[in-house]
Amino acid sequence: MNAIRSHSISRSLGLLVAGVLTCVPLFAQEGEARLYGQFTSGEFRTPSEASQLWTAGAEAGATVDKNGLEFNGHFGFEFNYGNNMMGSMFTSPGYYPIDILEFTPGPKTKQTYAIDGGVAWHNRSRWTPSVQVAFKGVNYAKRKDLRYTTYRQEANVEPAIRYDGDLFHFGLGYLFEKTSEFIQAEQIGSATADSYYAFLDKGMRFGTMQVWNGSGTHLAESGVDRLPVQEISHGANLMLGLGPVEAQGTYRYYNGIVGEKGYTWFRFPSHKIEVSLQWTHNTGAGEHIVRAEYSWKDSKTFETVLERETYGGVTVPVIYGDNIIYGSREMEAGPSWEFTSEKGWSMEARLTVDHSATRSTLMYPYLYYEESTHMKLEASSSVPLGRFILSARLGASDLLGDRSHSVEKDETNLGITSVPTRLKDWWDMESEITDAPQIWWKLGLRYTFAGKLPFFLEASFEGTKAFKVENLPGSFRQTSQLSFGYSF
């Protein structure tokens, strides 16, 4: 399920520091409100995605500039209903390195509430302070025999300051983000069915398969009746511009934990670096932006060695140590080009190469490594034609070479007969979503009605067609959307 878009200024390397000054608004300058409905179907999907997904939403946003204060604000609500869903109990599978899967296909619902806003102060100096704040809440529920509700909250606070000199400009921002999510599960009906199992994924789909309320899944155990996860990140970004050339870098440190009340079952710290360099060139016909971007992320997951100890009748958790059970390094880099014409049409092209290396060390002495590299090409354009705006996007991606696997044993004389539990078929399916050669396209048409009130109607169709699909149930997935709104 797609989450509601957020205004966070740091989400894209293309958006620079100094808050709303450089934030590209979701809507037109003045403001916009819309209602939308969406239908997604097709079997090129993981089991955590719906075979059919219905979406309805409403959102509104505006920017206002008054007495040197520039405000922006946005709120939205989205409802999703998906059929034939199982797999991840988290609202955003893959967001955290720990996941928990269940195996009872059925409908799920999700509600997303988002609100964000910011202010920048254009004072008489060369300095422009700003702050951007965002909040999002998500409820995600399944109401089958094994039923659960997942609650997620996200908060971002990003103060920044920008200096505009005669020859150069620079900006400095602080980035704070907190996400938290917890899963509350319960069982209705018989405890004997095979389907009431859960799998706690500890990376690369290695993990623990148990009845859902077994202590190995951490869904329900004494002391903590839920699976809570939270991640806090602090970061900074720096932008430096000299004439048409602008460079920026962002560093974030993430500190995630699974557990609460001292019961910390996992820690997952990570570091992320993003840098970009862009050149802007104005011609009489429009503006060209050529940009090179690069990001790198290093993540580890530690599983703690924890024991409950009772002192004077009070049981408390005691952490004795921890082990690294998972590690990953991800890199993404590529150039892009944007052109915005004076006549209102725009075009963008982007080439991205990503490389990831992952390692599972869940069970000593085994080491499982995987590496993969993908290349993605994408081009998009938007063209106004009278009361119409036609938009199109076309992209393709493929795995470069093969996904490499290796298994090593640190020691061989330990008499081990078992191997770590792995949902290999799930892993293969989920890998195929990115590995399969695929093309995607999107066509959109927006019509603004004549009259004093600028209502608009917009329709879009998005499709993905994959090739050489072996593990997934299908090779095609589509999303159709219809929205109706009002610009003000």
Binding site: Y320, N323, I324, L367, G415, S418
Partner: protein
């Protein structure tokens, strides 16, 4: 051409991204040394098997001791369950340590291995997990039973044989009997009740290789209503039935017409509060024992009834370990937080009840060679149920 592109892109990736992932095993392991200390009168031997089980990791490392009785390995941080097993003729040596933290770089352990002898009467089967009520919805647990087997080549009397289960009821509960050093008490805390087979001394003889079924709850034909259950209304079956102490008819229905009244077990003492005999469905620690004295006199002495630490109501009967003929530790397969309740002279290991309400039962393995030699069924008995038991898909009495 494509390979060149891939090589260039990968080269860029490696140069720019520091994508190598080092092995965490190079620096993050601890050195563990385990030494088996044999009892007086028995010399230190090599060749004993040392099983080091990661309690949360679900993996068991197998080592062998050298001539000094020592085994060494490297392990990641964790809590481990360490079992040493050795056998020299009829002498069985077992030692174990439960929940050993291995976190501080170097851990040296000396484990006392205790000698015991293979038993005559052994617990052959434990069916505690219940079954589905198919074709109805729901689950059923009034059909629990034990089977006791004569592993000796002479008849053995069951008269006066007692049975009970240990506190705490479930293996994944905090064990209140373990002291701060992690050791178990020198008695067995039998909880809820002690049951005793009656008789005059030779009323209930069990021949070599024969079995005796003890119904822990209802001795009726459960399978008549629930086909996945068992028929426990058969001649010769014993039953834990006493409607004064345990009047709950759901769990203790009146025994069937095939059960004679002299096969009703006696309640020696009831120390619990429940109106039905409480026997864990997923992880009992069960023992059979033969007292050296009159069991009624024993339980009448206050010093033999001990309050459960932390409880103001529950008491246990403190049964001496020497009385025990056989015992089996069952661990809850749904938990990674199991704790031992039986010491190594009774059961150095455990058997896992993976699932409840599926009709599964825990069965002792047959010693094929010994059975062929003796001409009757001899069951494996190393006082280590990890080695001796397995989990069956259905009860052995299920037809």
């Amino acid at each position: 051409m494509q390979n060149k592109i891939i090589a260039i892109l990968l080269g860029l990736a490696v140069l720019s991204g520091c994508m190598d992932l080092d092995s965490p095993y190079t620096t993050g392991l601890n050195d563990l040394t385990v030494t088996a200390r044999y009892p007086e009168g028995y010399s230190t031997r090599g060749g004993a098997q040392v099983k080091v089980e990661s309690i949360s990791g679900g993996v068991t490392y197998t080592l062998t001791t050298d001539g000094n009785g020592t085994a060494k390995t490297r392990l990641p941080d964790g809590f481990y369950r360490i079992r040493i097993s050795d056998r020299d003729g009829e002498n069985v040596f077992n030692g174990n340590l439960d929940w050993v933290p291995v976190c501080d770089g170097t851990v040296d352990l000396v484990i006392d291995v205790l000698r015991s002898k293979a038993g005559t009467l052994v617990i052959k089967e434990i069916y505690c997990g219940g079954c589905p009520k198919d074709p109805e919805e729901g689950t059923y647990q009034s059909d629990q039973y034990l089977i006791i087997h004569n592993n000796d080549n002479i008849p053995v009397a069951l008269d006066g044989l007692c049975l009970g289960s240990l506190s705490p009821y479930n293996s994944n509960s905090a064990n209140p009997w373990v002291n701060s050093e992690g050791t178990l008490p020198d008695f067995l805390p039998i909880i809820q009740a002690v049951w005793r087979i009656g008789g005059s001394g030779d009323s209930f003889m069990l021949g070599p290789g024969e079995d005796a079924v003890i119904c822990l709850r209802g001795a009726i034909d459960h399978s008549a209503q629930y086909p996945l259950s068992v028929n426990l209304n058969r001649p010769g079956y014993f039953v834990c039935y006493n409607n004064v102490y345990f009047p709950n008819p759901t769990y203790h229905p009146v025994p069937g017409d095939q059960i004679s009244q002299d096969h009703y077990l006696e309640v020696v003492i009831k120390t619990g509060q429940a109106n039905a005999y409480t026997f864990s469905i997923n992880s009992p620690a069960v023992v059979i024992f033969r007292p050296d004295e009159d069991i009624y006199d024993f339980v009448a002495r206050p010093e033999n009834l001990v309050q459960v630490p932390g409880s103001s109501v529950d008491r246990v009967v403190a049964v001496p370990e020497e009385w025990v003929i056989d015992g089996v530790e069952v661990f809850n397969g749904g938990s990674s937080d199991n704790h031992k309740r039986l010491g190594p002279t009774i059961d150095a290991g455990y058997v896992i009840q993976k699932e409840t309400f599926k009709g599964r039962s825990l069965m002792r393995k047959t010693d094929s060679d010994a059975s062929a030699l003796q001409g009757f069924e001899i069951l494996k008995d190393t006082n280590n149920s990890t080695e001796d038991f397995y989990e069956r898909d259905t009860q052995s009495l299920h037809k």
